[in-house]
C-alpha cells in the first residue's frame, strides 16, 4: 500500500496545550469589525492580539484636500453612534482657531444637541452590554427613545445617523417648533424609561454576576493607557473635558461628574447610566436657558462670520455681497490663518481631540483626530487575560468601541 499523504500541520500544533481562536472580524458578538486572535485554554483567555484597521478610510489624508466645511461630513463617520458630538467638536475647533465668538443661544442649542447625542450613545452602549449578558429586552425597549433623539436631529438638520449638523458659527437653520415639542416629549418621557432600564439591570443578579469584577483596571493603569471618558471615570479619575476645559458655555451649567471605583464592566455601566441622568439635567437647564431668550435674541442661531457661514439663499440671489461669499465658501477660496491648535471635547466615549495645523493655505496642512477608543483599545488584552471568553465579549462592548472611530 502506498504511503498515505496526510495534511501537514504546523509544527508544535499537536503538543500545544491551548487553542487558537479567531474572534472576529465579522462576529456577531464584536459589534463592529474587530478581530482578536486569542489563545484560549478551555474557556480561559491566555493571550490575545487585536488587529484593527479593517475599515480605515484615510480621513486624515482626505482632510488635507478639503475646506473646513467639507471636513464636517468626515467627522460624522468617526463615532457614528454620536455624530453630532463629532460635528460640534469640529466646529468648535474651527471657531477657536478662527477666533469666532458664538452667541450664547447657539452655545445652548449646541449643548442640547450634544447631550442628546451623549444620551443616545450611552444608551446604545449600555443596552448592548445588556444584550451580551443575555438580556435583549432593555435594548429593544430603549431603541424607541434613540429613535426620538434621531427625530430631533432630523428636525434640526434633516438627517439621522451621519448628521453633518451645524456649521462653523452655529446652525444652518433655527430649531423648529416641532424640534422643541419633540425635545419636551423626550424630557418628559425619558426619565421614566431610564428608570425602568436601570431597574432591569442595576440590581439584576445575573447582570451583576456577569459584570462585577470582570474587565477591571486600576486608575493608574487606566491613565497610563490613555483612558478617557466614562471608562476612565469608572476607574475613579474625575476627569471630564466639560469641566476641565469648558467649551460651548458648559461653565453655565450645574452638573456632577459620576465616578466609579474598580473600573470594571459594572462600574462602566453605572457611570454611563449616571451620566445619562446628568445629561438629562443639563438638557433641562439648556432648554430653560434657550426659552429665556426673548425678542430678536430668540431668533439667533448663528454667529456673524461671512467668511465661513453660508449666506441665506434669498440673499445669494438678490445681493452681490452674499453671492460673492457664497461662491468663495463653496469653491474654498478662503485662506486660513497660519498656526496650530489642539482642541478637545468630551465625546461620548472619551476625549475627542482635533489637532489642526494650517500653513496659511485653504485646507488644513495636517489634521489629526485623537480618537479615544483607538487609544484605550490597547488595554484590551490586559483587561481580559485570565478571564473567561464570555467575559471578554462583555468587556469589549462595555468599553464602547466604535469601529469607525477606531480605524478613522
Amino acid at each position: 500500500m502506498e504511503a498515505q499523504h496526510n495534511i501537514t500541520l504546523p509544527e508544535g500544533s499537536i503538543e500545544k496545550k491551548t487553542t487558537t481562536l479567531n474572534f472576529g472580524p465579522t462576529h456577531p458578538a464584536t459589534h463592529g469589525v474587530f478581530q482578536n486572535i486569542m489563545e484560549i485554554d478551555g474557556e480561559r483567555v491566555v493571550s490575545t492580539e487585536q488587529s484593527v484597521g479593517f475599515i480605515h478610510r484615510a480621513f486624515e489624508k482626505l482632510a488635507e484636500r478639503r475646506n473646513l466645511y467639507q471636513i464636517t461630513p468626515i467627522t460624522d463617520r468617526l463615532n457614528y453612534c454620536s455624530s453630532p458630538l463629532n460635528n460640534m467638536g469640529w466646529h468648535l475647533t474651527c471657531e477657536k482657531f478662527l477666533k469666532v465668538e458664538t452667541p450664547k443661544r447657539v452655545d445652548y442649542l449646541r449643548i442640547i444637541i450634544m447631550e442628546l447625542a451623549r444620551i443616545s450613545d450611552h444608551l446604545i452602549c449600555n443596552s448592548i452590554v445588556g444584550v451580551d449578558t443575555g438580556a435583549y429586552t432593555g435594548f429593544l425597549y430603549v431603541m424607541q427613545y434613540r429613535e426620538l433623539i434621531y427625530e430631533i436631529y432630523e428636525e434640526v438638520c434633516g438627517s439621522r445617523l451621519t448628521t453633518n449638523i451645524g456649521r462653523i458659527g452655529g446652525f444652518e437653520r433655527n430649531f423648529t417648533n416641532t424640534a422643541f415639542t419633540k425635545l419636551e416629549k423626550f424630557l418628559s418621557e425619558y426619565p421614566k424609561v431610564l428608570k425602568e432600564f436601570e431597574n432591569l439591570f442595576t440590581r439584576n443578579r445575573i447582570f451583576m454576576e456577569r459584570t462585577q469584577g470582570t474587565g477591571g483596571i486600576s486608575a493608574a493603569r487606566a491613565m497610563n493607557y490613555g483612558f478617557t471618558g466614562p471608562n476612565l471615570r469608572a476607574a475613579g479619575v474625575d476627569y471630564d473635558v466639560r469641566v476641565a476645559n469648558p467649551y460651548s458655555s458648559y461653565q453655565d451649567f450645574d452638573f456632577t461628574v459620576p465616578v466609579g471605583t474598580t473600573g470594571d464592566n459594572y462600574d462602566r455601566f453605572l457611570v454611563r447610566n449616571a451620566e445619562m441622568w446628568q445629561s438629562l439635567s443639563i438638557l433641562k437647564q439648556a432648554y430653560e436657558k434657550v426659552q429665556s431668550f426673548k425678542g430678536a435674541e430668540s431668533e439667533i442661531f448663528h454667529a456673524d462670520v461671512p467668511e465661513y457661514y453660508l449666506p441665506k439663499k434669498e440673499d445669494v440671489y438678490s445681493n452681490m455681497e452674499a453671492l460673492i461669499w457664497h461662491f468663495k465658501i463653496i469653491m474654498g477660496e478662503i485662506d486660513l490663518p497660519k498656526g496650530q491648535i489642539y482642541n478637545p471635547i468630551e465625546g461620548a466615549n472619551g476625549e475627542l481631540g482635533f489637532y489642526l495645523i494650517s500653513d496659511g493655505g485653504r485646507t488644513p496642512f495636517r489634521l489629526h483626530f485623537r480618537r479615544p477608543c483607538f487609544i484605550y483599545y490597547q488595554a484590551y488584552p490586559e483587561l481580559i487575560t485570565g478571564g473567561m471568553l464570555s467575559d471578554a465579549v462583555v468587556t469589549m462592548s462595555s468599553l464602547n468601541l466604535i469601529a469607525g472611530e477606531l480605524d478613522a
Binding site: 484593527v52 484597521g53 480605515h56 484615510a58 486624515e60 489624508k61 482626505l62 488635507e64 484636500r65 477657536k96 482657531f97 493603569r221 491613565m223 497610563n224 493607557y225 490613555g226 479619575v237 476627569y239 476641565a244 476645559n245 498656526g339 496650530q340 491648535i341 489642539y342 478637545p344 476625549e351 481631540g353 489637532y355 495645523i357 496642512f365 495636517r366 489629526h368 485623537r370 483607538f374 487609544i375 483599545y377 490597547q378 488595554a379 480605524d407 478613522a408
Partner: protein
C-alpha cells in the same frame, strides 16, 4: 505650587538649557521643541517633576520643505492635577527618521507610535512591536507623507463605470 506656562518654561530652561527651544503659547497651550535624542529625557522630567503623566496624543507631521527636519513627532501631554496641557515636538530628517519610543513611559504610546510609523515611516527605537496597524502589512510606502498625493480627481485614464468615470 501652581503651574503656569511661564513656570514650566522657566523650569525646562533651567534643566535643559538650550536643548529646549522655540517656545510659544499660541491659543493658550505651551508648545516647544527639543532634539529627537532628548525626547525621552524631557518627557521623563515632565512626568516625574512636573506631573505630566497623561499622554493625550501623539502624531506625526511631514514638512517636506524643512531640510533635515522633514518629519516631526508631536506629543500632547496633560497634567490632570493642575489641569494644564503642553505640546512637545521633535524633528527628524527623512533620511534617518529615528525617535526613541515613549511606550515604556506611557502604554498609550504603543499604538499611537505604530500609527505614526504606519503613516509617516518614523522608526521608534525600542518599540516592542513596531509594525503597521491601520494599513495592510504589504504596503511599501508611507501614505501620510506629502510626497504621496491623493488621487487626482480629474484623471481620465481610469476606466471605472461604477464611479461615473466610464
Amino acid at each position: 505650587m501652581s503651574l503656569t506656562n511661564e513656570t514650566i518654561q522657566t523650569q525646562l530652561e533651567e534643566k535643559f538649557a538650550d536643548q529646549v527651544y522655540a517656545f510659544s503659547t499660541e491659543t493658550g497651550m505651551l508648545s516647544f521643541e527639543s532634539p529627537a535624542a532628548l525626547n525621552l529625557k524631557v518627557m521623563q522630567y515632565l512626568f516625574d517633576e512636573l506631573g505630566f503623566n497623561f499622554l493625550t496624543d501623539l502624531c506625526g507631521v511631514n514638512y517636506p520643505d524643512n531640510k533635515d527636519a522633514e518629519l516631526v513627532v508631536v506629543y500632547h501631554l496633560h497634567n490632570f492635577v493642575e489641569n494644564i496641557r503642553l505640546r512637545l515636538s521633535v524633528a527628524v530628517p527623512m533620511a534617518k527618521p529615528d525617535v526613541f519610543t515613549a511606550s515604556k513611559l506611557f502604554e498609550a504610546a504603543n499604538w499611537m507610535e505604530r500609527e505614526t510609523y504606519d503613516f509617516f515611516g518614523i522608526n521608534f527605537i525600542g518599540h516592542p512591536n513596531l509594525k503597521r496597524i491601520l494599513n495592510v502589512e504589504e504596503m511599501d510606502y508611507f501614505p501620510m507623507r506629502k510626497e504621496f498625493p491623493l488621487e487626482d480627481q480629474t484623471r481620465i485614464d481610469k476606466d471605472d463605470e461604477m464611479f461615473g468615470r466610464g
